[in-house]
Symmetry: C2
Subunit: 151 residues, 2 copies
DNA sequence: GTAGAACCTAAAGTCAGGTTTAGGTTAAAG
DNA sequence: CTTTAACCTAAACCTGACTTTAGGTTCTAC
């Protein structure tokens, strides 16, 4: 199947200007054009968009993604480099997830904190509550979160 | 305790220029200065840095964080707004985690893909492998990942 | 064959989140 | 006192990832 840039934009939610920008950056090295110069996205490009999204979410820049796509063009001689890249990305995302869990725990603590404050009508309520009166699961959030103290 | 900007930079890993930038953006509304105009970070500011990190990781911009810190200055009258913000952030991070899980699954699939390719010496190996020969857990990654096809 | 929608390029613009520069001032140590 | 490391400001600069603009071309439908 072939798709126009407008169709791809519509179905993926990626702006036309972004698709053209990606093309300009060399992320679709094999994309075809009509006689008149109009882009014809194929399933190959749609798949590339999936890889771009994945690698972008894993923390790579557009330039780094371009590098990876260059390796793909080189064929089997670059298999090792490509493999290593994905293992490295897996590690990076694993770390990112750990970070996000800490963030979640801080947020959960804050939600409890403000719920308590709102119920009492004042922030002094949670602020002055003795540790022993704070639910265990909230204390756990606080311990594993990114804040050192209450507030 | 009071700390110089250099001490804070060293102990948090945040660049001095970034700390000054945050200050310029109004993220430390109560920070004191020495007679000569030198910043004196206190535990309050250190805690604020923790909140900044948390909210930044949750997807807020510096300007949005500044808004939240303004609310904090307003006292108990802004409790509701602040509570709502944290619940909203909790939802946003939950969503972000879901996304990251998909990314992880795609990466895991790719790791298997390239391991298989390297063992065989060619990408054709994983590419031509019938579904029935792909481990179930890898298929599951593929299904829940962000890619539609192999490759 | 002509109207209008959809496409094209190159180049400039935008925005966030910093960092760097230039030219001083402060403060702790000898 | 004077040195020197650490600090200060304002303003300019930078980078990444897009988006917008301006002016032109192609394609589809009548």
């Amino acid at each position: 199947m072939q798709y126009s840039i407008g169709q791809v934009a519509k179905s993926t939610g990626i702006a036309i200007s972004t698709l053209r920008y990606y093309d300009r950056e060399g992320l679709f090295p094999n994309m075809e054009r009509s006689g008149g110069g109009i882009r014809r996205f194929s399933d190959r490009e749609i798949e590339t968009l999936g890889i771009i999204e994945c690698l972008k979410n894993s923390g790579l820049s557009i330039k780094e993604i371009k590098l990876f796509l260059d390796w793909c063009q080189e064929g089997d001689s670059s298999l090792q480099k490509r493999r290593d890249l994905f293992y490295e990305r897996l590690a990076a995302v694993t770390k990112q997830m750990e970070e996000l869990k800490k963030t979640m725990n801080t947020l959960r603590f804050k939600c409890w904190y403000y719920d308590t404050a709102l119920t009492a009508g004042t922030e002094d309520a949670p602020r002055n509550l003795p540790q022993s009166q704070i639910p265990e699961d909230i204390l756990a959030c606080q311990r594993s979160g990114c804040l050192n103290s209450l507030g």
